[in-house]
C-alpha cells in the first residue's frame, strides 16, 4: 500500500479514537459539569455521616456547589471529619449550617449548606461549626418503636 494512504488511514483511526474518548469524557461523563474551577476547601464535623461517600455532591438551595473530597475520622472527638471542595465562585457566611440529607427516600446522601445571616464569610480551610448528622433510618425506627412502647406503658 502507498505510504501516504497508510498514514492517512492511521491518522483517521487515531482521530476517531480520540473523538471517542472525548465523547465519553464530555457527553457520557461529567467532565464538563463536574470540573469545578479553582475550588477552596471547607471542613465540617459530623457525629454520624450515615452513607455519605467521597465524591458525593455538596448542594446549596439544591444547586451543586461542590464535592466531598475526603472523609476521615477524628480519634480525639470520635467524630467524622468531612473535607469539601467548594466552587470558588461561591462564598458562604460563617453561620452556615451543614446537614446531611438524602435525595428521595432511598437515594444518595449529600451535604446541604443552609445559609445563615452573618456578614463574615467562611475562608478556605475553615471549619463549618454547625452541623446536623445524617438521619439513620434504623435509629429513627427504633426510637419510634420505643416511644410507642412507652406510650403503651403509660396508658396502662
Amino acid at each position: 500500500m502507498n505510504r501516504t494512504v497508510l498514514d492517512l488511514w492511521v491518522g483517521f483511526f487515531v482521530a476517531l479514537g480520540l473523538a471517542a474518548v472525548l465523547f465519553l469524557a464530555l457527553k457520557v461523563g461529567n467532565l464538563s459539569s463536574a470540573h469545578l474551577s479553582d475550588t477552596y476547601v471547607l471542613q465540617a464535623r459530623f457525629d454520624n455521616i450515615g452513607g455519605l461517600k467521597v465524591r458525593g455532591p455538596v448542594r446549596s438551595a439544591g444547586v451543586l456547589v461542590g464535592r466531598i473530597a475526603d472523609i476521615g475520622f477524628d480519634p480525639e472527638s470520635y467524630q467524622a471529619v468531612v473535607t469539601m471542595n467548594i466552587d470558588g465562585r461561591y462564598r458562604f457566611p460563617r453561620d452556615t449550617f451543614a446537614s446531611i440529607y438524602t435525595a428521595g427516600l432511598l437515594g444518595e446522601q449529600y451535604i446541604g449548606l443552609d445559609v445563615g445571616g452573618d456578614d463574615k464569610m467562611l475562608q478556605a480551610g475553615d471549619m463549618v461549626r454547625m452541623t446536623q448528622s445524617a438521619v439513620v433510618l434504623e435509629k429513627l425506627l427504633g426510637q419510634f418503636l420505643f416511644n410507642k412502647a412507652a406510650e403503651g406503658q403509660e396508658s396502662k
Binding site: 497508510l6 492511521v10 487515531v14
Partner: protein, 263 residues
C-alpha cells in the same frame, strides 16, 4: 490409558513448562523494551503496525460495539421498566460499557482479530527463516519486527476500546430514545451525573491500556516462540487467542477489585 503416576508426571512437566515459558516471556518483554528505540525513532514502522492492528480492526469493533449497545438498551429497558426508572437507562448502558464491557469485549475482539494475525505473521517469518536472515543482516529482529508490532498493539487497543464504548452508548441511545421513547434529556443528564470522568472513564481507559500491553505481548511472544513449522504456527495462533482471553478476564477481575472499592 496412562496410569496415575504417568498423569502426575505429565501434570508436573506441564507446570514446569508453563513456568519456564512465563519466565521466558518476562525476559522477552524486557528485551522488547530494551530494543524499542528503533520502533519509536522510526515512527513509520510503528505506524504501519497501527494500521494493521488498529485500522483493520475498526469495522469489527464498531459493529460489535453497536450491537452490544443495542442489546444492553433492550435488556436494560426491560429490567428498569419493572422499577419504573427507565430514565436510568443511560446510566446502566454507559456504566456497564465504560467500566467493563468496553475494555473487556474490545480486548477479546482485538486478541482474535489483531493478536492472532500478529502471531501468524511473526510465526511465518520464523518458519521461512526471515528472522534468521534479518539477524544475519545485522538487524535485530526484536527491534525491527517485534517491537513495532508490540507498540502498534499497545497504542491501538485503548483507542479501539474507547470507540467500542462510544458506539455502545450510541446503540443504547438508539434503542432507548429513538425506538422506545425514553426521554432524551433524562437519558443524557442522568448518565452525566452518574458517570464520573476520573473514576469510571479513566479506570476503563487504564484497563484497556493494560489489556493492550497483555494481548500485544502474548501475541508477539507466541509468534516468536512458535515451532517453525506450519503446525507450530497454527498452534501458536490458538494459544494466543486462548491465553489472551484468559489473561484479559483474570486481569479484569484484579483491576476491578483494585479500582472500585465501594466508595
Amino acid at each position: 490409558m496412562p496410569g496415575p503416576l504417568e498423569l502426575v508426571r505429565r501434570l508436573g512437566s506441564s507446570v514446569v513448562d508453563r513456568v519456564w515459558r512465563l519466565g521466558f516471556a518476562t525476559r522477552f518483554f524486557f528485551a522488547i523494551l530494551l530494543h524499542s528505540g528503533t520502533a519509536l525513532r522510526r515512527l513509520s514502522l510503528t505506524l504501519r503496525e497501527i494500521y494493521f492492528s488498529g485500522v483493520l480492526s475498526l469495522l469489527i469493533i464498531i459493529v460489535s460495539g453497536l450491537f452490544v449497545g443495542l442489546v444492553l438498551g433492550l435488556q436494560g429497558y426491560e429490567t428498569l421498566q419493572r422499577f419504573g426508572s427507565t430514565e436510568a437507562l443511560g446510566v446502566l448502558v454507559s456504566l456497564s460499557l465504560v467500566r467493563e464491557l468496553g475494555p473487556v469485549v474490545a480486548g477479546l475482539l482485538f486478541a482474535s482479530r489483531a493478536g492472532s494475525s500478529i502471531t501468524a505473521e511473526i510465526g511465518l517469518m520464523k518458519t521461512t527463516e526471515q528472522l534468521k536472515a534479518m539477524d544475519m543482516m545485522a538487524v535485530n529482529p526484536i527491534a525491527r519486527v517485534v517491537a513495532p508490532r508490540f507498540w502498534g498493539g499497545v497504542i491501538s487497543m485503548p483507542l479501539l476500546a474507547a470507540m467500542f464504548s462510544a458506539m455502545g452508548v450510541f446503540g443504547g441511545w438508539l434503542i432507548g430514545v429513538v425506538f422506545i421513547g425514553v426521554d432524551d434529556g433524562a437519558f443524557w443528564s442522568q448518565m452525566q451525573s452518574s458517570v464520573d470522568f476520573r473514576y469510571d472513564i479513566m479506570n476503563g481507559v487504564i484497563k484497556s491500556v493494560v489489556f493492550g500491553f497483555a494481548v500485544s505481548l502474548i501475541a508477539v511472544f507466541e509468534g516468536y516462540d512458535s515451532a517453525p513449522t506450519a503446525e507450530g504456527v497454527s498452534r501458536a495462533i490458538t494459544r494466543t487467542v486462548v491465553t489472551s482471553a484468559m489473561t484479559i478476564l483474570a486481569l479484569d477481575f484484579i483491576l476491578t477489585s483494585f479500582m472500585f472499592r465501594g466508595n
